[in-house]
Subunit: 416 residues, 2 copies
């Protein structure tokens, strides 16, 4: 089965909103054995929606539309759909009750007109209930084709996908299974990773497809396999992964949606260790990432964002003299911060960052992008120097990633 | 002039990568007076790229392609382009030198084959130099149509857009100017905001278009205007903005790309005040957001991520008894955290968060999503209760936004 995803909204064309819905839906369909042939964004115009819907309906088996179902006047998807399927609107009591219940839970007992209009649904449609918002979704089946319409609010669309759409489409899907796995690396540039893997890629591409996807957090290696059954696809992916790991295991910190903070979280739980973090140039990003993981309170003792020298001295016990002699951005201060936060907090491991995030703050010997990352446990304390780029946010990202990667390698006994 | 944006890459269809490039390009074209009619994503397939390019070339004046120009084997855009324009590859010395220089700056003096292949360019193309990576961009003009091809790495594409493409297209653009402005609100749900603005929207939509865009950080109100000249467009936008502000000024914290952390940064600089932050449930996100702003070291004294009770007691001076009597998630502890971090750091203002981010940690009286936000200055200390949702990351986002919004309103003397 082939699918087209149509995402609707002027905000997408004008670039006001980033199209995360398309990538989420693309991923879910691919995993279900439905191949996404194209993704198209059109504006909030009845004509454009109907035109694109016609094209997609003629050329593909499944069409997924999102957006333009909200309670405000600029949302025209519902009327476009009604025209396309030649159907009218009727009041649906189930939807009305669901809207009431949804709002009541949020302490609002009175429905305004915008809220009530959500219960008007296309007569021909099967309803997809929305438990995460007020706009219901719709499903049409005609001439063996499936058209699914969902709101554009990511949480609501995702709720409907997971609660209903994926199951529904899985039962219909007869195509070969597309299976993908992503190996996430960090600490090695794309061209160097490719050089190490060139021969391996050539070999395994006989049965799979390999792509390299670089970002500030590292390079992802994506394996894609197409096979008749899930079992066959799994086996081929496993074989490709094994060959790649033989060459670059050290750099692979996780797979698929695994973030580095999840990986180190599992390792810390497994080893029963606690960490504390002392951040200067990363400004809280490391703590933020660590605490994005549910259950992180088990191993994350505290984070200190010691932006001022006073904070470094007062809460981390860094000596004033050290800062005066070497500067706040130095090996010595990074080490003192990591050791200080570990000892004062009573955690097993301390990590630290100090650097010039930019755009200001550089000196002739300390350019923007210079970052020292410190590590301390009961056996050793050290710091490593890095040169990232000249973009402030990217420097924060890359420094936080490298700090977590150093922690991962230490926890696993991998050379840094 | 009308444009189509074509973004290339299996990773987009399979949902491995979110299409931020399309939104960035859409925004820039709209601002240049070029109207983006559609955005299409296709896979790394020569045929699909050529097919879509044919359609776009026939129907629109400008076609922008990104992606698939990297140094690895899965990048096929260059060969597709060569076929479409019936041209061959030639070695370009300028590009080769630029690649060498780019890599030398990063300490790499030897080029591998992948690097060298970047200097092979379509003979018919005008070259767009890439100072941010190794793959050059290409420009073709034929039959009055413009086709621009750029790499998919966001930083490189953005560099080329800002350095060359926007200027180039501005000179060609003859269309009416599309001007947009976004007013960013927080602390009021979409339906309530719409209710307050319903009559105003009806009135001003005679000369502009209004859209409501909700997210975890608040609801954006987007004004879109089309006019013959930039001056006329500016005047109409200003008029619409004025009418909207008359009704909901209190909730508008910024415009366009302004983030709340930038707004409070400016206010703090203006007033010469310093802040310190004590975070529990937001886990460093507030500090991270504040330090995303260049120059934040001027007013951000420190951040404490007091995840453990020990940290709350040891570094913030919260009394053990208070935590025992009221629990860590309580008005009393939020107030003590905000006051503690302010007094200990010597900052003028302290803000704090303590809550149940989820998915675990809830009790019968303290559900997931319950958050107390504390504020303290020399005149007063208070905390406010919020109920967010059941999603951990969204709770962190919403709590960080509300904490910064409380700070903004206090700094401006707006009622909370």
């Amino acid at each position: 089965m082939k699918a087209e995803i149509i995402t609707i909204g002027d905000e997408l064309l004008i670039g006001q909103v980033i199209n995360t819905n398309a990538s989420y839906i693309g991923k879910k369909l691919s995993e279900t054995g439905i191949s996404v042939a194209r993704i198209v964004s059109v504006g909030d115009s009845e004509k454009d929606i109907i035109d694109e819907l016609k094209y997609a309906f003629e050329n593909f088996d499944v069409v997924i539309l999102t957006g333009g179902l909200g309670p405000t006047h600029d949302d025209v998807t519902k009327s476009a759909i009604c025209k396309f399927f030649n159907t009218g609107l009727v009041l649906n009591e189930d939807v009305l009750n669901q809207v009431k219940e949804f709002l009541a839970k949020r302490g609002r007992t009175e429905l305004n007109e915008a809220n009530k209009s959500q219960a008007l649904v296309p007569e021909k449609a099967k309803i997809i209930m929305n438990y995460w918002g007020t706009a219901p979704g719709f499903l049409f089946e005609e001439n063996g084709k499936i058209v699914i319409v969902m709101p554009g609010v990511p949480k609501e669309m995702m709720g409907m996908m997971e609660n209903f759409v994926i199951n529904y489409l899985s039962k219909k899907s007869t195509g070969s299974v597309i299976k993908q796995k992503v190996l996430k690396t960090t600490g090695i540039p794309e061209a160097y990773l490719y050089e190490r893997l060139k021969d391996t890629v050539e070999e395994i591409e006989k049965f799979c497809k390999i792509a390299f996807l670089p970002s500030a957090l590292g390079v992802k290696i994506r394996i894609t396999v197409k096979a008749e059954t899930k079992e066959k696809a799994d086996a081929l992916v496993e074989e490709a992964e094994k060959k790649i790991r033989e060459k670059v295991e050290k750099y692979i910190y996780g797979v698929d949606d695994e973030e580095l903070e999840m990986v180190i979280g599992e390792l810390l739980v497994e080893k029963g260790l606690k960490i504390a973090v002392a951040e200067s140039c990363t400004g809280g990003l490391i703590a933020d990432r660590i605490t994005n993981v549910p259950g992180s309170s088990k191993y994350f003792e505290r984070g200190i964002v010691a932006y001022s020298n006073e904070a470094k001295i007062q809460i981390l016990g860094v000596s004033e003299e050290l800062i005066k002699n070497y500067g706040a951005v130095s090996r010595e201060v990074a080490e003192a911060m990591a050791e200080g936060v570990r000892k004062i907090s009573g955690a097993d491991i301390g990590i630290s960052t100090t650097g010039i995030a930019g755009p200001t703050g550089a000196t002739p010997t300390k350019p923007v992008g210079l970052v020292w990352i410190g590590y301390s446990d009961k056996n050793e304390t050290f710091a490593k120097e890095f040169r990232f780029g000249d973009d402030r946010l990217e420097n924060k990202q890359r420094a936080s990633q490298m700090a977590l990667e150093i922690l991962r390698r230490k926890l696993l006994g991998i050379e840094i």
